[in-house]
């Protein structure tokens, strides 16, 4: 039991992302309100972004801004700086997520203008008529 707890605590960042992801996934699949679906999607994407970012963390490491002359003299101590690549990647992923959200919101606006509601059930009911 202690072992399991130790693993959970040691990798708590991953557990957080798993939980967040499940919440988002549930909202996307289970919720009947279109905006809630969209929010679920955002949570889902944020979870993955957090996973990437937390992968770059190193205990006691500094931000990856290096002094050029220092580096030329002594080289880089990789343990001393945080891995910047995941952050850079996630900047792109955030851009992607924002664009999708933007497009989705625009589409939701059109749906609302057309049907006067964002509840999936009500829309289907109106379509059925």
């Amino acid at each position: 039991m202690d072992m399991v707890l130790a693993v959970i605590v040691a990798k708590y960042n991953y557990w957080v992302y798993v939980v967040l992801m499940m919440i988002g996934f549930y909202a996307m699949i289970g919720k009947r309100n279109l905006v809630k679906k969209l929010i679920g999607m955002n949570i889902f994407q944020t979870a993955i972004i957090l996973m990437f970012v937390s992968a770059g963390v190193k205990h006691g490491a500094k931000i990856p801004i290096l002094d050029k002359y220092e580096v030329l003299k002594h080289g880089v101590d990789a343990t001393g700086v945080v891995n910047p690549l995941p952050h850079v990647l996630m900047l792109t992923a955030i851009v992607v997520a924002v664009s999708i959200t933007g497009v989705a919101l625009a589409i939701l606006l059109r749906i609302y203008r057309e049907y006067g509601t964002l509840e999936e059930d009500e829309i289907l009911e109106k379509l059925g008529k």
Binding site: F25, M28, L34, K37, L38, M41, F44, Q45, I48, M51, F52, A55, P86, L89, T92, A93, V96, S99, I100, V103, A104, A106, I107, L108, R110, I111, E114, I123, L127
Partner: protein
Amino acid sequence: MSASNLHMYVMIAPLLTAFFVNLLGRRSRAWLAPLALGSLAFSSLASLVVLGRVVRSGGYRYTVGNWTPPFGIELVVDHLSALMLVLISLVALAATLSALKSAEQELPGREHLFFTLYLILIAGLMGLVLTADAFNLYVLLEITSITTYGLIAMGKGRAPLASFNYIIMGSIGACFYLLGVGYLYLMTGTLNMADIARILPDISGGAAVATALAFMLVGLWVKMALFPLHGWLPSAYSLAPTGAALLVAPLMTKVTIYLMVRVMFSIFSVDYLFLQNPLVQSGIVWAAAIGIVCASALALAQRNLKRMLTYIIVAEVGYMVGGVWLANSTGMTGALLHIVNDALMTLCLFLAAAAIYYRLGSLDFDRLQGIYRKMPVTMAAFTVGAFSMIGVPPTAGFFSKWYLILGGIESGHWEYVAALLFSSLVNAVLFFRIIEIGYFFKSGEHHGHELREEAPLLMQVPLLISAVALIVIGLGSGPLVDSVIRMALPGGF
């Protein structure tokens, strides 16, 4: 323009043009046709040159801005990606010709917006086939998806709702893929496909790698609408504006299958995929076979031409996924050849559907009566496309199906063989139902002299070209397989 980075210009031409289409097309729609067609014609020619060079002197890798991999962005121009580049630019060119007419009719005043998205989508697809970097692949996948969401939402009626559904499903797929990339990055510390492939064999941690593969595959399957993850596709494709469906239907699923092949064989090895997990391999073939049967059966229930075609697309996805996972070179050849053939068949059928819709304003079966007399040229081309879907020689569809079924026989996957034969028979029923409806008349107007009312020339020309191409590619499938497809088979086959 140096010759060694010609493939870059293939991709950049539609991307740059997209902005000019938006700026100039806003003022006058007269700009649209020359800009869009000009850039795509350029891309087509350039991609043919690239393919010719690859066939002559082999594939190559290209580093953008001379940043050496694994740090820089790497593009791969091999037989397969060069072939896909040609396919995308030619299909896009043909689709654009017809889309110009249908957008004029369906989206008056918004054509410049439509074509802006349209061209960005084409550029995104080209980028997808070129990239050799797992993360870039994600970004480009989302570029194509976002533009597609927008294009579909421009349709009438329920289109926005279908598009929103697609957004949710598409995002799940893309996020799964990204998650898989994340696992691989955590394990290997790199995103360059070749680099990952180099490091992977030395890594212990089988579960994490397997999870990564599973996430990436499922993500791509959602994007390619493999049964039973296909729910979003029929509505999205059939409600999209005709012009958008013309481009998206032939290319999107096919490019995603290309991505599956790329991810499977550039990152993982044949040995890892097939030999170490034979159960997974045959499980996927079984799933594909069941998917083919179910999607074909669902197609039977449709009463609208376009919806029927979308279910056929879902069935065809099963063909190719199954072919890739048969794990022999015949099946793989069949799958790659079918990517090309299916893109052309779908193009031909959707072009015909677009032409009919342009005149009739509907594609419901009961509106199609007597259509052979009304639009003989369109229906002649439609018939060729239908024969190719059924798999009648010498149309292209027969030959890829031949390889796929043969691959199934060689590997002993009789369920896949049976599913393909079943689907061919169902396709025969589906298309002859339409041919019958179109050939006969309503009971009241026997021998009625309906006016001949063909679609405009701009829609007929690409349609006829695609129909002829189906026969030419069919007759030329021997050389095509020998000089391109066989070389494009991933290492290990």
